[in-house]
């Protein structure tokens, strides 16, 4: 085996790519995170599943609704769809599709711990937080593109199928904002899930907590006494975040769409801060 071939050949390369200064260094870390992300098959499949489930389910439910329109029992449901077609289009598809994002965000970091790759990652980036930052940047950008694709895809597929019964257009009041907002919501949800994964470092626990935040917490908060319970409810991550993809304001709504989204972002940032602090402090 040629050992001599091993050394000494990197010198020229080392000279070219001297110190990883600021932006260039972060670009390298992002390239590395992109390689990590695309080189695991399950990640790629989960992303595909997200797109297919969300758009597919929107299409299926819209079609079922339209083909059973004004059936004997369907009148109240038809009225609801007619009153809030955006709520209907985004309700089911995103409601389920968001779960794949919860899982993916958690897995992206917990698999580093379960497989031990985290040690290789941190040997390469011993300051640690830039690695997490690059991961979030790469995943966030990818999620933004895919989520907007899914949001607009759902909107066009859903509205086209509903067209014979209800007409919605992007130019309707709040519709464009809600569609863009659906993509933003899913993106931030992915980052929030990643932060939770980084905090707990175990796949099952991470997924349970994120799903709990998205599905269970709103139900629990709904059981609180109505007066102040409503205030807590409004500021919970999922409750606040989902306002940005709703067109209809409910009567007692405490936050506007963008305020709600802001609260959701603050939750994500807080969790990221905790994750960063723990990443730097704990033994790998």
């Amino acid at each position: 085996m040629s050992i001599t071939a091993a050394s000494g050949q990197l010198d020229s390369a080392a000279a070219q790519a001297s110190q990883p200064g600021g932006a260039a260094g972060f670009g390298r870390l992002m390239a590395a995170e992109w390689t990590k992300l695309r080189s695991v098959r399950s990640t790629v499949w989960t992303l595909l599943l997200f797109v297919i489930i969300t758009i597919g389910l929107t299409a299926l439910l819209s079609w079922l609704t339209v083909s059973n329109w004004t059936g004997p029992r369907a009148a109240p449901r038809d009225a609801r769809v007619a009153a809030d077609p955006i709520g209907f289009i985004f309700g089911a598809g995103i409601g389920l599709g968001q779960l794949t994002i919860c899982v993916l965000g958690v897995l992206l970091i917990t698999t580093e711990y379960s497989t031990g790759v985290i040690r290789a990652s941190l040997l390469a980036v011993p300051k640690r937080y830039p690695m997490l930052a690059a991961k979030i940047a790469v995943f966030g950008l990818l999620m933004l593109v895919l989520s907007e694709l899914v949001a607009f895809g759902s909107f066009f597929v859903g509205s086209a199928i509903l067209h014979s019964r209800v007409v919605v257009s992007l130019s309707g009041p709040g519709v464009l904002r809600a569609t863009l907002g659906a993509g933003f919501y899913l993106t931030v949800l992915g980052i929030l899930a990643l932060a939770v994964g980084a905090i707990v470092r175990h796949t099952a626990a991470g997924i349970s907590i994120v799903i709990g935040i998205v599905l269970v917490l709103p139900i629990l908060a709904g059981l609180l006494p109505s007066n102040w319970g409503a205030h807590i409810n409004a500021y919970l991550p999922q409750q606040a975040g989902s306002l940005v993809y709703a067109v209809h304001q409910s009567s007692g709504q405490l936050l506007t769409a963008w305020e709600g989204f802001g609260v959701f972002c603050i939750w994500a940032v807080l969790l990221l801060a905790v994750a960063t602090y723990l990443l730097n402090r704990r033994d790998a």
């Binding site: 091993a6 590395a32 790759v117 290789a120 390469a124």
Partner: protein
Amino acid sequence: MIEVTDLSKRFGDKVAVDHLSFTVEPGRVTGFLGPNGAGKSTTMRLILGLDHPSGGSATINSRKYAELASPLRTVGALLEAKSVHNGRSARNHLLFLAQTQGIPASRVDEMLDMVGLRDVARKRAGGFSLGMGQRLGVASALLGDPQVLLLDEPVNGLDPEGVLWIRNLMKYLASQGKTVLVSSHLMNEMAVTADHLVVIGRGKLIVSAATEDVIARGSGQTVRVRTPEPGRLTDLIVTEGGKAIPAENGNGGAEAPGGQAPVLTVTGLAAPRIGELAASASIVLHELTPQLATLEDAFLELTSGSLEFGHASAQPAGQSIEENVR
């Protein structure tokens, strides 16, 4: 150069590394030895900034690992625990590491060739054998052509050819002026590979010295004597200031099965003197063989007081060494 200064690490109540200080000089292979649980892997993780010390510090070329500008170009590490994603190919694993340091992708392929993984470079690492995984680990350690290498049991799982390859590789790298710290449990392997040894037990330093000096610290030469009259010979040896103990094959005092005379292991007297004593008392000798001290002897003696996980049926130091004597 690696400098470890008063380094300590506690896990709860457990003290894994206890005020440990030593230096690893460039230009030679330094073996890092100690019984199971002595704290070798923990020390390496502390040097690499993966674990945070409870006290003291470790530096590489006078800087903490976390402060290195381009860590993989300065330090290459092979850890004890696996650090590859089963679902990722060997090439993509090395590629992402290379990208973090701005190392060109051509270097990745070069390393895959060098460790002999070219044909499986695009296969999932989950399907790799123990030895293939170890080769991938070596490739990632050498990826940045680092000045300093820390290898935690690198020959673990390698076939004889692989062991020889690692040995030559470490010697070559040291001859190039690199700093090489390598832990191992294979004493014979260390004796021929390492120029210097750092031996620890229960997290504390036992000795840091040249390999020959460590071997010499063992009780030194022993002589194997086979005689039909072990009792009389033992008395003679003891009066001369030596020590004779029945060899551990169980037939020290009695007539051995198959007509073989019993064996004594003698320390403190040289073979010629034992021969003279036997001749003067007309004791018949069937065998008189000087035994060279081995690193394994010295290691067992040095660490006998600091075994983390001793065996229930404690065996006397020096058992089964005959096979290792050259």
